[in-house]
């Protein structure tokens, strides 16, 4: 399982490296990617990473809250407050990335 994931990661890394080669195919001179294109790539990837990992974290928080309510339905109201607060804190981490992207673009 770990090996497979490593292979997928390596493959995607190699594909990323190969992008300038595709770009160079048409023209006579190899220009590579411009600064703006690189910035856009970085923006997309960073937002993707941020939201993916933020999604995992929020999923963990929600699943723990659901388990808690399933065991003791009486605390649902109190738990909801903490859940919303925690989700807001987790979400703000992804939003920092969004803000940085908009500042840098």
């Amino acid at each position: 399982m770990k090996k497979k994931a490593f292979m997928v990661l390596l493959g995607s890394l190699m594909l990323m490296m190969a992008a300038p080669v595709f770009a160079a195919e048409g023209g006579a001179v190899s220009t590579g990617l411009g600064k703006e294109a690189l910035g856009m790539l970085a923006a997309g990837f960073s937002m993707a990473f941020a939201s993916a990992i933020c999604g995992i974290a929020q999923g963990k928080a929600i699943s723990a809250a659901c388990e808690g309510v399933a065991r003791n339905p009486g605390i649902a109201d109190k738990l909801q407050l903490f859940l919303i607060l925690g989700l807001a804190f987790i979400e703000s981490l992804a939003l920092y990335t969004l803000v940085i992207i908009f500042v840098k673009m």
Partner: protein, 224 residues
């Protein structure tokens, strides 16, 4: 990505009033809220409450219940600042869902000023409640650890307005952008879920901002 102006701002620009969009929208919210509340609260009655009075009572009771839960038995003293934040931010957020208007909270300047208001308020209330011993909040549990704790506490207190403002701004702005993109992609039926999501975000961000302000105030006024 170009910024769109609201219809009110465009109208004002025609008349030669060159104000930035967020300022116009914030003034719009303030004047609108004042007028609505003034007209709505002229005829209050105990026997026969109107719809608007019931909505207002619901709002006040909700904020009061949260204050009781978080700050304690004398929490309703702080109804004024927290209620102001809640009403202003809620109406500003909901403004993003009206076509032709922009949410003023989707601008970083507005949210930074709101967060600074919250910061000043809780520090002022803490100092008023405890006087000079408010500084004990920054000194850690024992005196030996004070040089270690002091900078950390200062930084964490300064990070609060930053995170408050960026959270509100990012949520509202991001949500507005997402629904904007989807409206431009498919202008029929597809954007509806995103608008519903925007409604949810508007309420939740109001809750989060007021809740965090309450928690900061509760932390500041409690005695060590």
């Amino acid at each position: 990505m170009h910024e769109l102006d609201s219809l009110v701002t465009i109208l004002l620009h025609h008349f030669g009033v060159m104000l930035p969009d967020y300022m116009v929208m914030l003034l719009f919210v303030m004047v609108g809220t004042l007028v609505i509340f003034w007209v709505g609260t002229r005829r209050l009655s105990v026997d026969k409450p109107g719809i608007f009075q019931q909505v207002l009572e619901l709002l006040t009771e909700t904020v009061g219940k949260f204050l009781d839960d978080i700050i304690g038995h004398d929490g309703r003293k702080f109804m004024a600042p927290i209620g102001t934040f809640a009403v202003l931010i809620l109406i500003s957020n909901l403004m993003g869902l009206v076509p032709g208007l922009m949410p003023p909270t989707g601008n970083i300047i507005v949210t930074i000023s709101l967060a600074l208001c919250s910061f000043v308020t809780y520090n002022f209330l803490g100092i008023r409640a405890q006087g000079f011993s408010y500084i004990k909040h920054f000194m850690g549990p024992v005196l030996v650890l004070t040089p270690l704790f002091f900078p950390i506490e200062i930084i964490s207190h300064l990070a609060r307005p930053l995170s408050l403002s960026i959270r509100l701004f990012g949520n509202i702005f991001g949500d507005h952008q997402v629904s904007n993109v989807f409206v431009h992609l498919v202008p029929f039926a597809i954007p509806v879920p995103f608008i519903l999501l925007g409604l949810l975000v508007a309420f939740i961000q109001t809750l989060v901002f007021s809740l965090l302000s309450m928690i900061y105030i509760a932390e500041a006024v409690e005695h060590h």
